[in-house]
Symmetry: C2
Amino acid sequence: MAIIRHHNQTNEITVDLSTAAVISDRVYAGFGYPSLSDMEVTTAMGLPLTYPPFVMSVSKRGLKLDQVVCQPYTVGWFGVQGKREVRLACFYLEGTVNMHARPLEGISVVVDLEKMQISEYFDRVRVPVPKADGTEYRPSTVGATTVNRITVVQPDGPGFKIDGHIIRWANWNFHLGFDVRAGVVISLASIFDVQKQEFRRVLYKAYVSELFVPYMDPTEEWYYKTFFDAGEFGFGLCTLPLEPLRDCPANAVFIDAFYAGQDGKPIRISNALCVFERYAGDVMWRHTEIGIPGEFIREVRPEVTLVVRMVSTVGNYDYIVDWEFKQSGSIEAKVGLSGVLEVKGTAYTHTDQIKEEAFGTLLAENTLGIYHDHFLSYHIDLDIDGEANSFVKNKLVTKRVKDNNSLRKSYWTVEKVTARTESEAKIKVGAEAAELVVVNPNKKTKLGNPIGYRLIPRSPPASSLLSDDDYPQIRGAFTKYDLWVTPYNNSEKWVAGLYADQSRGDHTIATWSERDREIENKDIVLWYTVGFHHVPSQEDFPVMPTLSGGFELRPTNFFEANPVLKTSVPTPVNWPNCTSLHK
Amino acid sequence: MAIIRHHNQTNEITVDLSTAAVISDRVYAGFGYPSLSDMEVTTAMGLPLTYPPFVMSVSKRGLKLDQVVCQPYTVGWFGVQGKREVRLACFYLEGTVNMHARPLEGISVVVDLEKMQISEYFDRVRVPVPKADGTEYRPSTVGATTVNRITVVQPDGPGFKIDGHIIRWANWNFHLGFDVRAGVVISLASIFDVQKQEFRRVLYKAYVSELFVPYMDPTEEWYYKTFFDAGEFGFGLCTLPLEPLRDCPANAVFIDAFYAGQDGKPIRISNALCVFERYAGDVMWRHTEIGIPGEFIREVRPEVTLVVRMVSTVGNYDYIVDWEFKQSGSIEAKVGLSGVLEVKGTAYTHTDQIKEEAFGTLLAENTLGIYHDHFLSYHIDLDIDGEANSFVKNKLVTKRVKDNNSLRKSYWTVEKVTARTESEAKIKVGAEAAELVVVNPNKKTKLGNPIGYRLIPRSPPASSLLSDDDYPQIRGAFTKYDLWVTPYNNSEKWVAGLYADQSRGDHTIATWSERDREIENKDIVLWYTVGFHHVPSQEDFPVMPTLSGGFELRPTNFFEANPVLKTSVPTPVNWPNCTSLHK
């Protein structure tokens, strides 16, 4: 299906690619608009520079027009139906390329995207533009502390194969795709079971379904900043070429991605994805045995994994998205946040001057880092050894010992609670001690354990702190819980709705789940949110050291035994420094 | 101070090393015993093999005595004062070296350590010894799946310096020590502040203070298994030589450790520690800027860190302990759990046969993996830019918008709550949205923000599920909260008490903290528990793929700005595979 915005309406056109025929063409009559296109963005950015009131505002501030750059921001929904429009935030370059650090506060420029012209303009208040000093991040202008050179070497080359869209590596194979909205899409991931001598399905499909970034400043120029980066801007559209040897190590292989431009022609993003084997010096498993008299047994297997990476830069922020496959059967999803903070110009130059709420941290003179969240909702359609799965909370519950024969008074045990419907599955993770498991209730190990995979958070869960009745919260209702489980439905791909721009929250997972559908022994989808409450610190300025989060999908009674017991031990690559200091 | 167990009493002898004179010699009269010595362990292990009732028990089971190996287990405290004794658990080798997988259930052997003889013996019940099949983990007997060779190369060699016990690397320096009880000890860690052109103290000292592993089976042969691996067995004493190229990468430097043997002479653990620069292919910070017309700016700094590693194998389990220093100022503590599960022999060969509570997962025929916890308490004596620090919870609280000028209804903001006393500081992490920060209240950044470091869990918190009145919980009371904060006290080093073996919980952090001492603007110590509720799965058998947990200490307004903005970009090391597939 193609979504076309044309003549002030949104057409949903279904095309049969085999016959190149339009099967249906209907006008979408609901709320919300499709994502911005890159051509719209580029055109809208330039409008203020020839708009006399804006030119005057710049001049009144004593700034140079040719050093001003504007960026389109989606406007959200706050109870009133808006036209298809964006607000422009404008920034100042002079002396730096870090324009995000130099906002022109107090100016509001609204662009009507259908007419592609400025429809509203305010110059409400004048605030100092933060200085350029200390904002530069390019190396030509900076000093250096040093670390020695270091690289990864694979004497026999990379160990994975790329067959079209299929990646084959060690005991894994999977389909690697790209979507203009989601970015990287992993699907059809199966792992070879050495014992059964067959590939077994783990994952039907996984991707970032939405990325919601609400800012916590309710004032005029900031209240609306409640962005849906996937649905409004396109997390895939914002994917940019990776830098060899820096974004990905020396043994990486790069893959281009393509999306349809505004004219329908394919646009290439070169080096959009990279694939590499990761060796971080970690241990896959080990044991030293000194308990047997006369013997010293030490077996260690180094951990080598496969990583698929992309980076999406949505304006100021850079999101490093990793999918990591482990030979032990785990899949780890990781996101690294870097880039530049969204800052607000202010008259403050010291915290002592702050007498009323500032909604952020003073990061530099005249520069506030506004509090905000990052909520990445992952669509995780597991197919654990087949389609029909159930979601089980393995609750760890304390038992009192009633038997007087024991000297213990308590212990904990596992109570398995299968979620029958959607309402039984949604949870705030960590509220109780429980393992979160997806099982195939139709299959068991030889010993009789349910075959499953477990979801383990790898960063502190963070659900939304906004009030339930607040507009951005209604639109980003998925953030109310860390985890939701739904039955598979082809029309439910985007957790905050297909038309996210100015959506009213009537097509989010919260509305889908109101039906409270059955999810037991069904093809189910997990929606897990990797969340960050971000209180900026001075270290995040002028560019932010990566902050990471994610989750692990780990086999739990999926295999009959440790699947990497029989891993080969490749001849170690020697290196002259590998000696003891004391020998 | 030396602790000497001699003639049924524990002497605490203080020695002036400069004059080689004994300053004081007092008998410890409280509860609890010192750790086992390695010579005691070795001697006790052998006793059953010449003990006629045991020889008969083995013979009755049709087993070969020369294939039996026993291991000493501490007995805990269950309300009755015991002699200084251990229980032996015995295992069967025949056909495997994985003795832990083949327990001889039903036999209880108690050894009086003072007399070094068997003081109690029961042969209560006969249970099948699990088979040897599938338990072997040495490569000589197994097949293989393959991955290509991969290694780390540093053309100019490692970039750190070892000056005695001081490690200098990039912007960090710290003291690296070793303790027979704690294992690796990091102290005096300071980071060079490029802006201030001086080293600034971050950490006075950090180490694993205790490792508590209670099992969840209240039956006769298992109820007492509630081990304090540091206090009873010695986490340092159980440190074993690392395997070059497998436990640590090719660019690692190894360091020996020493401890005092039973006769007072030094005993060397060769290659006990390794230090290496870690390059996992990750990104320290990055930004791509495409918002400036006509420009494409992409700056990426690869992440290179320094890791200090040790492995302690406490009987069956292997703990991989990492301290990772990041140029961005973070210190990450990580522990990886591998090795062999503590299993229980059983008649069950299929879960269908289990009609009453089994206290574990059926992992193989006749083999139950008993539920248990791992609680590692880290002693973290931060000295953030000086000794006097405060512990602050930056609570994220929802605010309703009262101002009708805003279209927003809510936002969150930060409320800083300084813990005045110990009782105000102890918490279960994750119960509320809050950042956990240690600040120096006497120093601020130029902008006026409090100088601090933040603690971020890197694995799900797990506090104890045992009842408060249960004996092991009284002894391991630190597990009631994930985090405690105490004022520094030289006598408070071991979170479960100095004499952990058969302790009664009268010298744990819970008793220290009853005084509810002031902790504001003091030299304070954080005690953070990295916990795991471990429900064994079949994948953990016969040897367990590493499961990791840990935490990050991250600067938050410690620096005036991103401290790695001015990081050098070493000439990338090229590699022929670094090409796009599509070019």
